[in-house]
């Protein structure tokens, strides 16, 4: 087998195999069962005491939402404060970086609070060491934990019978940090420093190159940030070009580990759902459905990236290495394409190649992946999005067989379906409205200087930006000149709505499911782990994504592909 293909097959199989025990572990953590990290308990209890949290207090869905929103508001205010004042901080800024422009700060604060990590700034020139750590590194932990906590409340809602308790938000939040995110991040970060990723507070280094040029090399506390950026499906890189930068991703081995870190928690949480509700088969069935889509996407992108840019083949050179613009020799095309699908599936958004320079079909697959936004999905929120599709699929299956739809022993009624439909419609609404406004402005002002590329690809750049914002992904077609108030504010709002409405809506569903009577399974019960239901579910996902987004994808990536 080709060495590049072998690399990604090994990576995928290993990640999948490790996701199962991790999923089991996560479900034990959230069910409050014994785990080997129980030695953290005294520390956690100390934190509860200091914060005056009563960990035994139960919270209904509204209280969960309230606690989550208020905590996030504090995160936002803290981030704004630091970003707007970093130029005046007395320490932790050896390269004398100035304070951020207010709309960029607004965009950045929302971006990191919402686990998006869209970056309209470039880390090495626009963020001090203090900012990188106390804003970016910090928020990458707590934003991921916010998502996981919401997901566990949803799990609990499915399991509860005629009760309102969806778990204590603060406990779920803290446990996600201490029991899941922190241990994995520490392991990944240690691996990275041993492979050469810097973790230093020294400023940029001056070196004279062999050819005699004087070069200034930016560095900093990179390793801790890169680890949590991958583990928490954040994607906010230390440097502008993210994990293409050799300090963030030194070699093929670190690339494997980082890509593993992108996928492991999203995959594990799907299994965790099955274990949590005591029906592991449901977890496996959902995982199989997602994997089918994931593997198809990988096959398509690997094919097109390895085949290379046909326009360059026509020039008559040796194009056998594939589409190498924006890619690193140490990773090659297959590992770059695999990463592209991983990062857009999981709402991670870190990149190890420039998506803007990939072949049109790959770019289109990445967008479609973010438009679905539920193939494994972001830490916690990915499963929540998937659950919305499950509700709709259960409803449709119910209609098809002429029975009141039931999900795991709970009747699905008008209220749940209405909320699910609204949440499902929100995503296309944000993306298509945003792209329409931007396209209109661009058409009327062709010299506005937003686009790095003309024609169809230019349209793709705008579509990608809004898709990435609404999906809380954070990757970009980075040629887009997006550090302007228009993009900062509009994308900021997209990220905000795209984050919190898909948390509030499903939690409301969970609240109402928790209150319902349990109906024991009978002969006519729809079994959601059955292949028939999985087929309906996949059709629902594809129909919703395809119908809403196909026209836009035709104007961008598809048109570009046929013009090559």
């Amino acid at each position: 087998m080709n060495s590049e293909i072998l690399g990604i097959v090994v990576l995928f199989v290993l990640t999948m195999l490790l996701a199962i025990p991790l999923g089991k572990y996560c479900s034990r953590v959230f069910l409050g069962e014994k785990t080997w990290l129980d030695f953290m308990l005294p520390a956690e209890n100390l934190i509860y005491r200091i914060c005056r949290i009563n960990p035994a207090k139960s919270m209904n869905w509204k209280e969960n939402v309230k606690a989550s929103l208020i905590l996030n508001l504090i995160f936002f205010l803290w981030a704004m404060l630091i970003l707007l004042t970093q130029g005046w901080h007395p320490f932790g800024n050896p390269d004398h970086i100035t304070s951020m422009e207010p709309t960029t700060a607004f965009n950045t604060a929302i971006s990191f609070m919402t686990n998006t990590n869209l970056q309209h700034y470039s880390g090495e020139t626009s963020a001090s060491y203090v900012t990188q750590l106390v804003v970016f590194c910090f928020l990458q932990f707590v934003s991921a934990a916010t998502g996981i906590a919401a997901m566990v409340s949803l799990f609990k809602g499915v399991l509860q019978r005629q009760a309102s308790d969806l778990g204590n938000f603060y406990v779920l939040f803290l446990k996600s940090c201490t029991r899941i995110l922190l241990p994995i991040s520490i392991v990944v970060a240690i691996f990275l420093v041993f492979r050469g990723t810097p973790s230093t507070f020294e400023g940029a280094a001056q070196v004279v190159s062999l050819q005699g040029d004087t070069v200034s090399v930016a560095r900093g506390p990179v390793a801790p940030m890169v680890a949590i950026k991958q583990v928490g499906t954040n994607g906010g890189g230390y440097f502008g070009p993210n994990s293409t930068h050799p300090f963030e991703n030194p070699d093929y081995l670190t690339n494997l580990v980082e890509n593993f870190a992108i996928l492991i928690i999203p995959m594990a949480l799907v299994f965790a759902f099955g274990y949590y509700i005591r029906k592991p088969k449901v977890g496996y069935a959902f995982f199989a459905a997602m994997t089918l889509v994931f593997v198809s996407f990988v096959a398509i992108t690997v094919y097109f990236e390895s085949a290379g840019n046909p326009m360059i083949s026509e020039m008559g050179i040796d194009n056998s290495a594939g589409s190498m613009e924006g890619k690193e020799v140490r990773f090659g095309t297959a590992a770059s394409a695999f990463w592209g699908v991983s990062t857009t599936s999981t709402s991670n958004g870190s990149v190890n190649s420039m998506h803007d320079s990939q072949t049109p079909i790959s770019g289109g697959v990445y967008m479609l992946d973010m438009m679905i936004n539920a193939i494994y999905g972001g830490a916690g929120v990915g499963f929540i999005n998937f659950f919305v599709f499950v509700i709709i699929a259960v409803f449709i299956s119910g209609l098809m067989v002429g029975r009141t739809p039931e999900l795991l022993g709970k009747k699905i009624e008008a209220r749940e379906v209405k909320i699910a439909a609204l949440v499902a419609i929100l995503h296309p609404l944000l993306i298509l409205t945003g792209t329409a406004i931007a396209s209109q402005i661009q058409t009327n002002n062709p010299d506005i200087g937003w686009l790095a590329n003309p024609s169809f690809h230019g349209f793709s750049e705008m579509l990608y930006e809004f898709t990435s914002s609404a999906a809380n992904n954070g990757s970009g077609f980075e040629g887009l000149g997006d550090a302007t108030p228009f993009w900062n504010i509009l994308c900021g709002l997209c990220m905000l709505f795209g984050r919190f409405i898909p948390i509030i809506g499903p939690l409301a569903i969970a609240g109402s499911l928790a209150g319902k009577k349990y109906i024991p399974e009978g002969a006519g019960t729809l079994r959601i782990e059955s292949p028939a239901f999985i087929a309906v579910l996949l059709s629902v996902i594809i129909i919703i994504a395809a119908l809403s987004f196909f026209p836009a994808l035709t104007l961008g990536p598809l048109a570009e592909h046929f013009s090559l």
Binding site: W78, P198, S199
Partner: protein, 186 residues
């Protein structure tokens, strides 16, 4: 409302201390025992620091094995890729120009031998590697300019080809180390 607000402020402070300060400090502390001491490993030749192991350098003269084109001209303080789309006419002109320039400087090479990584820019603009093919097509030029036997230069490249680890990934050549060795050959 007020209780939640107070809890939120306290919880922010304490998680900030753990994840924004404690965790990065711990990793920085651990990095002190790594070969580069967490500051980035350097390449030293003749008792002089010649650059960072991981950070590619600009090599565009005929005397050295050239590195890949870079959208930021190997500026390691402000990195990035070209972000040019595959059908962008301006970009395609640029690639053509790079091919022509390469052929002028390497007259013994046929067009179909020029590997694509030598005429395209990397993601961060700091790629420390080139493909083995990209090194081999420069052997004739190096041997002519430096007046070293062709076989000797080729043997040097052979030594510097790193094969994929456990048969996974891509073979590659570290340009800076190859050029340092080339200087020592003279």
């Amino acid at each position: 409302m007020k209780t939640h607000l107070l809890i939120a402020v306290r919880l922010t402070c304490i998680t900030l201390l753990i994840f924004g300060v404690g965790y990065p400090m711990l990793i920085t502390l651990i990095s002190q025992v790594t070969p580069g001491k967490g500051d980035g490993e350097v390449v030293v030749a003749d008792n002089q620091v010649r650059g960072f192991e991981l950070i590619g350098q600009k090599f565009d003269t005929d005397r050295y094995f050239n590195s890949r084109p870079s959208a930021v001209d190997y500026n390691a303080a402000s990195t990035g890729g070209s972000n040019k789309g595959p059908a962008n006419p301006e970009y395609l002109e640029q690639v053509k120009a790079r091919i022509d320039t390469f052929l002028v400087h390497n007259p013994t090479i046929q067009k179909e031998q020029v590997p694509v990584d030598l005429v395209t820019a990397s993601g961060a603009g700091l790629d420390p590697h080139i493909s083995p093919e990209a090194a081999y097509v420069q052997v004739d030029r190096i041997s002519r300019v430096r007046k070293i036997n062709r076989q000797k230069v080729k043997a040097l490249v052979d030594q510097h080809v790193e094969q994929p680890l456990l048969r996974m990934g891509t073979p590659r050549v570290h340009v800076l180390r190859l050029n340092v060795a080339l200087d020592q050959l003279n």
